[in-house]
């Protein structure tokens, strides 16, 4: 009996020893050297793998930064402090760049936009866009099923009253929402611009008004109130703030926009349903 135990211990022990030596040998012999610098850079990057830089995730960007001389400021999601640490570690000056934030150019929340149908399909904007465009009547506005909010790796987009709104203090400007929105409503703009015309409709102004109470009707009031070309009418009839030379946010009050399409970023973010009482007025 004891021989059996002894033999078992010996055989298993010897097999383990042989395998251990084999692993050690192969690990030593066929080692692939990993650059410790790449590892360190990867740690300093945000690690969200958002893909905003155009590389396949943070590890790929770290490799590109170390081995191909890509500037660390290529990372769109990195905070200013982390970027400082990273450039100090690499010994390169980070390129100055303006913080960008995503803006949803639509103010048509559920209680402001007219409805044309009851949508019962897959609750995703992209599917709804294929199947007749969801419940809201406007063919250019936010569909409101939140595929941008789900795509955001940082949770910066909130669905309020059936409208996507961006929280700029959370948004890192990676641009994932921009690519995912089937209506192309989201654009990256400098975070310092705090006032926008929240409408992207290319319909005729009267048709826009018909389907949404918050539509820009291209009346030109804000353009005249500004008078310095800081608000511009675009080719397709929509009005946009000139992001390179933005007007003061007080324009939102002084312009007297009849539909409230011109509003501050803060007001757009705080959008809430209109109560039935207010609509009666």
């Amino acid at each position: 009996m004891s021989t059996t135990f002894l033999a078992a211990v010996c055989v298993v022990g010897i097999i383990g020893l042989i395998l251990g030596c084999l692993i050690a040998f192969t690990a030593k012999k066929f080692d692939v050297e990993a650059d410790p610098k790449v590892e360190k850079v990867r740690e300093l990057l945000p690690g969200a793998n958002c893909g905003g830089c155009g590389f396949a995730g943070c590890a790929d960007l770290a490799d590109a930064i170390v081995n191909r001389g890509i500037n660390p400021s290529r990372c769109t999601a990195i905070s200013a402090e982390a970027l400082k640490d990273l450039s100090a570690f690499l010994g390169v000056a980070a390129e100055e760049k303006e913080k960008m934030t995503a803006v949803v150019f639509c103010g048509g929340s559920l209680s402001r936009a007219a409805r044309k149908a009851q949508y019962n399909g897959i609750m995703d904007c992209r599917s709804a866009n294929v199947a007749g465009g969801g419940g809201k009547a406007c063919a250019y506005g936010c569909i409101g099923y939140g595929c941008c909010a789900r795509a955001c790796p940082f949770g910066a987009i909130e669905m309020r009253d059936g409208l996507a709104v961006v929280h700029p203090e959370v948004c890192r400007g990676c641009g994932k929402c921009v690519t995912v929105c089937p209506r192309n409503l989201i654009r990256l703009v400098p975070a310092s611009v705090k006032i926008h015309v929240y409408c992207s409709s290319a319909d005729k102004p009267a048709a826009r008004r018909k389907v949404c109470s918050a539509a820009c009707i291209s009346c030109g009031k804000c353009i005249r109130a500004d008078g310095q070309g800081r608000v511009e009418k675009q080719e397709n009839g929509t009005v946009r703030i000139n992001c390179e030379n933005p007007p003061d946010i007080s324009l939102a009050e002084t312009a007297g926009c009849p539909t409230g399409a011109l509003q501050t970023e803060e007001a757009h973010r705080a959008i809430r349903p209109i109560s039935p009482k207010e609509t009666q007025k």
């Binding site: 059996t4 298993v12 395998l19 692993i23 599917s127």
Partner: protein, 206 residues
């Protein structure tokens, strides 16, 4: 060995006694990496690869060393009771070595399979196939070539179940599911129904 024996081993391992859906082995990767078809494909490739090689090595060890009667100092010793211990150690080290070699010699294959290989180290489907090979023919074990074929077929069976399940889960992702059932709950229910469907294959072989 007659040719229909080979067919029996292959069809038996893929359909009738599917490693996941009939033997309930390898459930961890089955639930873990079945969210996307692409990752499921990588995982099934890696599992088939490891299963084939590990079946060969474990069958070799079992045949030559563990199931053989060894005579030491006049006493005959049969070490087949240590098979689990030996198989675990062998499979774990084998996966490690394969990973190191792949990384060195085939970076493209390493990129495709690499992240799944460490997961397979402790995959019970791999150990299960080794044990089934050893336990066949009343504990005498299958032949080495038959074991390798069985391992490969088991891998294919695992891949089939995983890919079917991944397709189902991709569809489920966009379906309207009652809130409490979303995620793992509906995945487990689906796996159960899939397993029941595979029971139908039981009639293929008497």
């Amino acid at each position: 060995m007659p040719s229909n024996e080979w067919l029996l081993i292959t069809v038996g391992a893929i359909l009738v006694n599917n490693v996941v859906l009939s033997r309930i082995l390898g459930i961890c990767p089955f639930l873990g990496v079945s969210k996307k078809l692409e990752t499921a494909l990588g995982m099934s490739g890696a599992v088939t690869f490891v299963l084939t090689i590990s079946s060969f090595v474990t069958a070799l060890l079992y045949k030559l060393l563990l199931s053989a009667e060894i005579t030491i100092c006049g006493t005959t010793v049969n070490l087949s009771f240590t098979k689990f211990l030996v198989f675990i150690v062998v499979i774990a080290s084998l996966v490690q070595i394969i990973e190191i070699l792949l990384r060195k010699f085939s970076p493209s294959l390493y990129r495709a399979l690499g992240i799944y290989l460490p997961l397979i180290t402790t995959n019970c489907a791999v150990l299960g196939a080794a044990e089934l090979n050893a336990g066949a023919n009343n504990g005498l074990g299958r032949g080495i070539l038959e074991s390798t074929v069985f391992g490969f077929a088991t891998g294919l069976g695992f891949g089939l179940a995983l890919l079917l399940f991944a397709c189902l889960r991709e569809r489920l992702e966009l379906s309207m599911i009652p809130r409490p059932f979303r995620g793992t709950a509906i995945a487990l229910v689906t796996a159960g129904i899939l397993a029941m469907a595979f029971m139908g294959f039981g009639l293929l072989v008497k």
